[in-house]
């Protein structure tokens, strides 16, 4: 089933607060083969929060995760993410088009800290392949 066109421009509720800890960064760094030096989080770490927003969006729209492929991802950072940050992501559907039975969904996730200030923004293009 194609994704509803009226979603464009809609923002979803913010994700529940995510507390960044040394342990969480360490787990991420180790999984990607690196060694954690107790510094800021690696550049792609905010995907943890952005992915939660994406999951909430897919659940709300009853889209199966296994039919999703990631097409493009960008991040722009206002500042580095440090242990002790408490982050939330708010996803907005930026664009939606259908090509050859697939939905191409553009999203933007604003990631904020406890004060509500922007930490970074992640923009993603995801491809949803419907049931054939």
């Amino acid at each position: 089933m194609p994704i509803d066109q009226s979603l464009v421009g809609r923002s979803f509720p913010p994700t529940r607060p995510y507390a960044v800890s040394r342990e969480k960064i360490q787990q991420f760094v180790t999984a990607t083969g690196g060694e954690y030096d107790d510094g800021p989080a690696p550049a792609t770490f905010p995907i943890v929060v952005a992915f939660q927003a994406m999951n909430d969006f897919l659940e709300a729209e009853q889209v199966d995760l296994f039919r999703i492929v990631h097409g493009e991802q960008r991040f722009s950072y206002r500042r580095a993410i440090e242990p002790g940050d408490v982050l939330r992501a708010t996803l907005t559907v930026a664009s939606l088009r259908q090509i050859g039975g697939a939905d191409i969904v553009g999203t933007s996730s604003l990631i904020t800290d406890e004060s509500g200030a922007e930490v970074c923004t992640g923009t993603a293009t995801i491809v949803h392949r419907g049931e054939s």
Partner: protein, 126 residues
């Protein structure tokens, strides 16, 4: 002036993908289960696109000497990275260019000779 980054090869195993699923929260079964991956037209288990991007970001951050120095980062996922039972190799090479006040790193990221990330670009803080 352009500075070439020394090429590196990164091994990716299925255990890495299990660890990455736990660390990132992305439990899409196409990264764990051959049958599910094939059911959506993939050759078998593939790496998370963000796993490959994490390797690319690590390559840049290790070269620049630490995390917290990237102002912007992005790429297209042009081809999946198949991860068979004996693992895969992702090869990364890059160039750093001064553009005004910024340093911009562009990478070539391949697996089995195919480009898996397109237009990878990291902008470093001044």
């Amino acid at each position: 002036m352009d500075v070439e980054l020394e090429p590196r090869t990164f091994r990716v195993t299925r255990q890495d993908l299990v660890a990455y699923a736990a660390a990132s929260g992305d439990h899409n079964p196409i990264h764990q289960d051959d049958d599910v991956a094939r059911s959506v037209g993939l050759p078998g288990v593939v790496a998370h696109g963000m796993y490959t991007m994490a390797l690319a970001a690590r390559y840049v951050e290790e070269w620049v000497g630490g995390t917290g120095r990237v102002a912007a980062l992005g790429a297209k996922f042009t081809k999946p990275v198949p991860v068979p039972l004996d693992g895969a190799a992702v090869e990364i090479a890059g160039v750093c260019r001064q553009q005004g006040d910024e340093r911009v790193v562009t990478l070539t990221v391949t697996c089995n000779g195919e480009q898996v990330l397109g237009r990878f670009k990291a902008t470093l803080r001044a």
